[in-house]
């Protein structure tokens, strides 16, 4: 019997996302990624004796913004707490975080998985500081002769978003993560660069017999950094827990770690070894009071969120699929909207963006935001097709030229003499000479072989280096031969 026929999986997620403020949460150091080891540091983020934290107001703004986008309540009174544990990457051996009074509570988002819509609750979201990074001389800590600590990341602001245990399948989990990342990108509170570790996931998984109402014992697997790791980790953990339960044993409540290389989860700490974090209110920071005015000010800066945007695009005539693709990333949707402002045909625009533009960007591994072709230039190119100046085919090569040179399409057309020939007089002369040079094809056509006209059109296009207006050529040729 398959696992899914016997057990129901219950999953909740903790997502740690780096907020993209310019400076750290409690000091003025830059949050920039990279940089020589221990160059983005100061007495505060190094936890030097006597140094004190000062809360970066922008971090609060970002947390409020994310909270609003995730339909959360923004707490009027919240505070910071110290989470005490010893680890070398933690410069004070406590992390300043929020414990019982987080900034965002009771939110959620709607997902669509396997054709079903579902609401996933978000219990809370709280602000905290990131830790530094251990740098080992060897592959792992156990094979290293020495380790150093890089505190550049220490104090980078994080938002930890904790979901309800509302997900029942892996597709639901992935849909939740995609939607969450999409919203965070849209609100521009995070650039969500997974490859740089700016988003990290803790996955809580438990199984229970189908029909059971109480929850099974869960495990928490910490610090996953890609969607595919989440998927593989869950597949493994579900199978493992099912084997344990099938054998009539109990799942052990514990914290586990994901071994990417071996594709397995391993015990990190048992419940007995779990840290006692000895949380208590951070005495170096005043409680955080957020009045309605502050929240409303942030609400005004919220962008149109993906769902609303998708609906608007569909109203413009885009299919549900196209609207979803275009609104997947905010940068893409912004590109679309900007082009739409000067080119009204939404459907054609969407086809070009999803087709040739995306292909060019993908081949060159370029992000939409960095595209050398501006939205305005694309709109201009499409207008040239509509005016008959360019054929669709030529337009594609102009687009490539635009990508490599960044020039306006009209300039490329002028420089290369690519304007389409729509002058009937000029075309008639060429048509006459092609007819004269290909009597056999003319005869074939007149004998009813329609395919022959294609050959003649091809000859005319060749003679005009592809610049003849193909519609007009067809029309004129047919008139001549009738």
């Amino acid at each position: 019997m398959a696992v899914a026929d016997k057990y129901e999986m219950v999953c909740g997620l903790e997502v740690h996302v780096e907020l993209q403020t310019k400076t750290k949460i409690f000091c003025g150091c830059t949050t920039e990624f990279g940089g020589e080891q221990n160059t983005h540091v100061c007495p505060v983020c190094l936890g030097m004796p006597g140094a004190l934290p000062v809360l970066n107001r922008e971090v609060v703004n970002y947390a409020i913004k994310a909270g609003l986008a995730l339909e959360s309540e923004i707490a009027q009174f919240s505070k910071f707490d110290r989470k005490n544990y010893f680890y070398p990457d933690l410069s004070k051996n406590y992390q300043t975080s929020q414990f019982d009074l987080p900034i965002c509570i009771k939110g959620g988002l709607e997902i669509e998985a396997e054709g079903e819509k579902k609401w996933i609750g978000i219990t809370r979201a709280h602000m905290e500081e990131d830790a530094g990074k251990l740098v080992h001389s060897g592959e792992t800590i156990s094979t290293s002769n020495e380790s150093s600590v890089d505190y550049n990341r220490a104090g980078v602001p994080l938002l930890e978003i904790v979901s309800e245990p509302d997900m029942r399948t892996i597709p639901e989990v992935l849909a939740y993560l995609e939607k969450l990342v999409q919203i965070l990108e849209y609100t521009e509170v995070s650039d969500c660069r997974l490859e740089q570790g700016s988003v990290r996931f803790d996955v809580n998984v438990s199984l229970r017999p189908i029909g059971a109402t109480s929850l099974g014992t869960r495990t928490e697997t910490k610090n996953l950094n890609s969607f595919s790791s989440v998927r593989r980790c869950m597949e493994y953990e579900i199978a493992r827990q099912a084997r344990v339960l099938d054998a009539g044993e109990n799942v052990v409540q514990e914290t586990r770690t994901w071994d990417e290389g071996q594709g397995i989860t391993l015990t990190l700490r048992s419940k007995e070894e779990a840290h006692d974090y000895r949380y208590f209110p951070e005495p170096d920071l005043a409680p955080l009071i957020i009045d309605r005015e502050w929240v409303e000010k942030i609400r005004k800066t919220l962008p149109e969120l993906p769902a609303a945007r998708r609906t608007r695009l569909q109203a413009l005539g885009l299919s549900a699929y196209d609207a979803t693709v275009i609104t997947q990333a905010k940068a893409m949707a912004d590109f679309f909207d900007e082009a739409l402002a000067s080119y009204g045909d939404a459907k054609t625009l969407a086809n070009w963006i999803m087709g040739d533009v995306t292909r060019l960007l993908n081949t060159n591994q370029c992000r939409v935001a960095d595209s050398p072709i501006s939205a305005k230039q694309l709109a201009e190119l499409l207008a040239l097709i509509d005016k008959g100046t360019l054929s669709g085919k030529i337009a594609k090569s102009v687009l490539e030229e635009m990508y490599s040179t960044g020039k306006d399409p009209s300039i490329i057309v002028k420089e290369k003499g690519l304007a389409q020939i729509s002058d009937e007089g000029a075309l008639l002369g060429i048509i006459d000479s092609v007819i004269a040079a290909n009597p056999q094809s003319v005869e074939d056509y007149r004998a009813g072989k329609d395919r022959a006209i294609g050959f003649l059109v091809g000859q005319i296009m060749k003679a005009t280096k592809g610049q003849a207006n193909p519609g007009l050529v067809n029309q004129l040729l047919k008139e001549k031969l009738s």
């Binding site: 030097m48 006597g50 004190l52 000062v54 004070k92 600590v149 006692d276 000895r278 208590f280 170096d284």
Partner: protein
């Protein structure tokens, strides 16, 4: 020589060019060289740096610049106040070689005011103690009786001022650490309102209780130093944005009509009858000067000590977690990281510090938090309310600063609980976050005793007025400890 004079007197000498800052600084350094081998107030003496700073001030005097009140005045800082480029040890093996790359805000402000930093003075390790016996480096002696402790934790600061080894000093006060040594050594010590003086660069003991304040020879000097160090600082999120007054404006010799409350709980058992008698005489003086004195009650006082030792140790256990050998300070070699943490902390901290870290860790532990830390915070609120209520009727409250005069070395160090209980008259003030000042109020068996005025939050001014009036009508502050020839030539011993 000048070193025995008050800051305000020294200022006149400097301003009238009767003496240069260099001469004055040299005189202090000679004094330190003469008496400190015995008294051991100083952990670090900055002779060259101090003389260079003094020369700079002298150049300004020569150019005819108007001198600020503290300009050219030599002083000392408790060794838990960060000084850029100068070792700041907290009197701990853990920070024996720690040289901060930054200044505390108060260090900067005193530098801006033109003071001369003579050096860093001794204290109980990480400010934990009431006798300075917990210093890793040295035992500081009370200049009034070399067999007695100077009080603590700012013992070095109090001795430096009392023995004319500095014109003034800054200490820190978490549960009495400025006021009690000031009382034991016969000087003036102010614990300002929580948030009135920036804590940036003060190496934390208990963040919600720590405050920096001045130890001086006179009340006027104290107000002058407060003028320089108090005021909002954006680097300290608990700093209060308030309009800082000129504290010297409160120095009027008049307390007619001032309402003084006498909290009866501060005169309970444990108070030395001679101390009580001395304070009683002080109260009579105040009455004679026109103050309206009446008894009052702060009913939750008896819970202050347990609440204090839970909150202070809980915060300390977290504040001191950063000393692990990874980034700075003492590091013990071990097989792995956890071993290094354990060995570093076992070897780097002294007994009392370890005791408090353990107490605090326990108080915050899962399952105990509500019963200890949370309960203590509730007690703290009640204690605050006690004061609020008392201040509806009174301008200031008055008590002995400490239950006894200075005690002998070793007398209480074997019994930590007895040592903790001697803080009964000082810790409630820190829990409430209000200001309090200790001033010389007489002698018991040749040892000074202190009288404490407590005031409303940010009302240091009224404390200065009461203290100044008392001082101007008594002679205690004019008496100096007579250091014997033995001390002055102690190199031979």
């Amino acid at each position: 020589m000048g070193i025995e004079k008050s800051v305000s007197e020294l200022h006149e000498l400097l301003a009238h060019k009767d003496m240069s800052s260099t001469e004055l600084t040299k005189a202090y350094i000679e004094r330190i060289q003469a008496v400190d081998p015995k008294l051991k107030a100083y952990l670090t003496v900055l002779e060259d740096q101090a003389l260079a700073q003094a020369a700079e001030v002298d150049r300004r005097i020569a150019q005819g610049e108007v001198l600020g009140a503290l300009e050219g005045i030599p002083m000392a800082l408790k060794d838990n106040l960060c000084t850029e480029g100068v070792r700041t040890s907290c009197a701990s093996k853990m920070l024996e070689n720690f040289i901060p790359p930054y200044n505390a805000t108060v260090t900067d402000r005193l530098r801006t005011a033109g003071t001369i930093l003579l050096g860093k003075v001794n204290m109980d390790e990480f400010a934990m103690g009431s006798s300075t016996e917990n210093s890793y480096f040295a035992k500081t002696r009370n200049p009034w009786d070399l067999e007695c402790v100077p009080g603590g934790s700012s013992g070095g600061a109090a001795v430096a001022v009392a023995a004319d080894e500095a014109a003034f000093a800054l200490g820190s006060d978490t549960g009495g650490s400025i006021r009690q040594p000031a009382a034991f050594c016969g000087v003036v010590g102010m614990k300002p309102t929580y948030g009135a003086v920036s804590r940036y660069g003060l190496i934390a003991f208990a963040s919600s209780l720590d405050q920096i304040g001045p130890l001086t020879k006179t009340v006027r000097d104290n107000a002058l130093v407060m003028n320089a160090i108090a005021g909002y600082d954006r680097l300290d999120s608990t700093s209060v944005p308030f309009e800082k007054p000129d504290y010297t404006e409160f120095l009027v010799n008049n307390i007619r009509g001032l309402k003084i409350g006498i909290p009866k709980e501060y005169y309970g058992e444990g108070i030395d009858p001679d101390v009580a008698k001395g304070i009683q005489a002080g109260i009579q003086t105040l009455i004679n000067l026109g103050a309206e004195v009446a008894e009052c009650s702060l009913p939750h006082t008896e819970y202050a000590i347990p609440a204090y030792y839970l909150i202070a140790t809980a915060e300390a256990s977290s504040n001191l977690a950063r000393y692990d050998g990874v980034r700075y300070g003492y590091r013990a070699e071990a097989e792995d990281v956890l071993g290094m943490f354990k060995k570093t902390r076992s070897e780097g901290f002294g007994q009392e510090v370890k005791r408090r870290i353990m107490l605090g860790t326990y108080a915050l532990s899962s399952g105990y938090y509500d019963a200890y830390y949370l309960k203590a915070q509730k007690v703290r609120t009640l204690i605050k309310q006690d004061f609020d209520k008392a201040f509806e009727r009174f301008d200031v409250l008055l008590s002995p600063t400490a239950p006894t005069a200075a005690f002998k070395f070793g007398e209480k160090s074997a019994n930590p609980l007895a040592m903790y209980l001697s803080d009964i008259t000082t810790v409630p003030i820190n829990l409430a976050g209000i200001p309090a000042i200790s001033i010389p109020a007489g002698f018991v068996n040749g040892l000074p005793i202190g009288m404490q005025f407590m005031g409303k939050a940010l009302d240091e001014g009224t404390l200065y007025r009461a203290a100044y009036t008392f001082e101007q009508n008594t002679y205690y502050h004019t008496l100096k400890p007579q250091l014997s020839g033995e001390v002055l030539t102690c190199g031979s011993r």
